[in-house]
Amino acid sequence: MKKVLVLFILLLSVLSLATVKIGVVLPMTGGIAAFGRMVWEGVEIAHELFPEVNGEPIELTIFDNRSDKIEAANAVRRAIEVGNVNAILGEVASSYSLSGGAVAEEKKTPMVSPASTNPLVTSGKEYVSRVCFIDPFQGWAAAVLAHDKLGIRNVAIFMDVEQDYAVGLANYFMETFQGLGGHVFFEYYKSGDQDFTAQISDAMMTGAEAFFIPGYYQEIALIAIQARQLGFFGPLITGDGADAPETITIGREAVNGLYFTTHYHSDSPVFTENAKLFLEKYREKYGKNPAALSALGFDAYLVIRDAIARAGSLDRDAIAQAIRRTKNFAGATGIINIDENGNAIKSVAIVKIEDEQFKYDTTINPQ
């Protein structure tokens, strides 16, 4: 009897040692829960297609950060200390990746963010990397779109003072747009606000031809509704924070004429094997076209898996270093090269909302 028990425990410990554990830290509830859900959809598909690495099964555990900065750090800590994970996939919002990333760095655990675009997320860190482009490039692309394509000279920037992503993107947009000879002025709000009438009235008085809203979809949709009600019908331009179906379900006709820069659109010309595989599986499973965040979740999973395969061990340092040596990895969102700072160099897709639909507009490549 004792022997059996010992054998059983031995078997159990061998099994648990062999399993590769990836902790997925995402906002599954709260203000940007739609983003968490979309990333998770992509991660799930990747896991179904590639459930093992080096012959060992991969186990996914999800940790909710409740769309909250402090909870984001707690969730990463829980993943590492309680979940005992080998690597972390997450988080979405840059603010959460900043607070969570600090914990990952302290605990020397590799973390790959699918969609945090603020440069500070990886800057000065060794363990935090990402599979998306960074905001200086996204802000540049949005400014070029506004100035060259839409011919706009005066822009009101609606900045969410609570989000590092929004503050950073607003400033990168401003730099490029002013460099091109345009004028900008700022309106401020904070995540969770619902009434923007005072800011919109002010922006209209200053003669804005377009609004640049580098925030997240909840507020973007409400700003769009209230702007149209107050008589502003010019173009709205945003970053990838608008890339959620909720922008349309909440904004409805008010978001027609909204442009945003993002990572991926199912109509954009991406010709990798993984892109085809992902698109096919996603449509089959969910019966709709995937959003950029699902594709990024898919890619983040594959990049972690690829790094573990190349590292050939579950040593956290080895995985972290392998992630930073990712070269020419063909993901769903395109070719991913992660540089020595942990940032991916990628192209920007521009999407326009027309007739309450996301329409692919054009792609801007890094220069």
């Binding site: 509830t29 619902q194 009438t197 005072a198 800011q199 002010d202 107050l230 019908f233 409805r252």
Partner: protein
């Protein structure tokens, strides 16, 4: 800020304030009668909006019936909350009731996250579209952005006029209930002295239950109109409006219904004007509302229209 923008912001402030006022009425009434700050008010508001949302989307019930049912359901919920959470501690120190109220609030929020999911939903297309319209005073039509649009002009949301009407109606109904009906007389008696009232043969528990039901129905009305103006549902949507209504009620004098209305309008106007005059302070508008609360509590704790009351120690 020029005169036109000032006028537009006046309208913006009044439309926000009318919502605060409507939500604050229920808050203040429950306090006025039971001396209980019902922190779950904002969460009853949220539950009512979800009721209406599911009735229209899943039940395919017409909006007017859905809204009425949601208000009734909220009243029932208020009654149930009193029975389950507040009645057992009726004679406990007042701080216990306050802590219980916060507990109820957390419970309702977490319940909503589990059952309705934490993902925001849209309230557009649930109610008739005319509520989204704006009345435009002045202004002229010109071709702009490649289409005919009305440029300039003061824009007044139709829904804000509806809110004003509903607030006035709510005040009249409340006045009638409190001063013209038997239960109203009982409510006034309870507000003065619960033990004596019960000695007079009044079923105090029923009266308190009715007060909660009435307060929750008012929260539901406020919530449904709030969702019509800001059409986004999620489990924590009642939290900030609830707190703001509390501040408005204290501002105007908690326990005073007229005070709640005045406080609501003043709070809405102050918030909008803060953003209008000092755009860079926009991120601090919630903090500013709390500053008002602190100032009122330290300078004139009875609020603008409240009566000074002697507390027996």
């Amino acid at each position: 800020m020029n005169l036109f923008t000032f006028l537009q912001n006046l309208v913006n402030g009044l439309s926000l304030g009318s919502l605060y006022a409507l939500i604050a009425i229920g808050y203040s009434m429950v306090y006025g009668i039971l001396r209980l700050i019902n922190f779950a008010h904002g969460d009853v508001f949220m539950m009512a909006v979800y009721f209406a949302f599911f009735l229209v989307t899943l039940g395919k019930v017409p909006w007017l019936i859905s809204f009425t049912l949601a208000i009734l359901a909220a009243a029932l919920l208020g009654f149930a909350i009193d029975r389950v959470a507040y009645k057992p501690i009726r004679n406990a120190p007042r701080i216990s009731a306050l802590i219980t109220a916060i507990g109820v609030s957390f419970f309702l929020e977490s319940f909503a996250v589990v059952v309705f999911s934490g993902i925001p939903r849209s309230f557009r297309n649930i109610y008739p579209g005319f509520l989204n319209n704006m009345i435009i005073l002045g202004g002229h039509e010109e071709v702009k952005y490649g289409r005919n649009v009305i440029v300039g002009g003061l824009r007044i949301p139709v829904v804000s006029l509806v809110i004003l009407g509903v607030t006035a109606l709510a005040l009249v109904i409340l006045w009638w209930i409190v001063y013209k009906t038997k239960i109203g007389m009982a409510m006034r008696a309870v507000s003065v002295d619960i033990p004596t009232t019960s000695l007079m043969g009044v079923n105090v528990d029923m009266v308190i239950g009715f007060t909660f039901a009435l307060g929750s129905a008012l929260a539901a009305v406020g919530g449904l109109l709030w969702a019509t103006r800001y059409p986004q549902l999620w489990p924590y949507m009642g939290f900030m409006p609830g707190l703001k209504a509390f501040i408005a009620a204290v501002f105007g004098g908690i326990g005073s219904i007229q005070g709640a209305v005045v406080g609501g309008f003043l709070l809405g106007l102050t918030e909008i004007m803060l953003v209008g005059f000092f755009p860079k302070m926009a991120g601090y508008r919630d903090a500013f509302a709390f500053l008002i609360l602190i100032l009122i509590l330290s300078i004139k704790p009875e609020g603008l229209l409240g009566k000074k009351s002697a507390v027996k120690v």
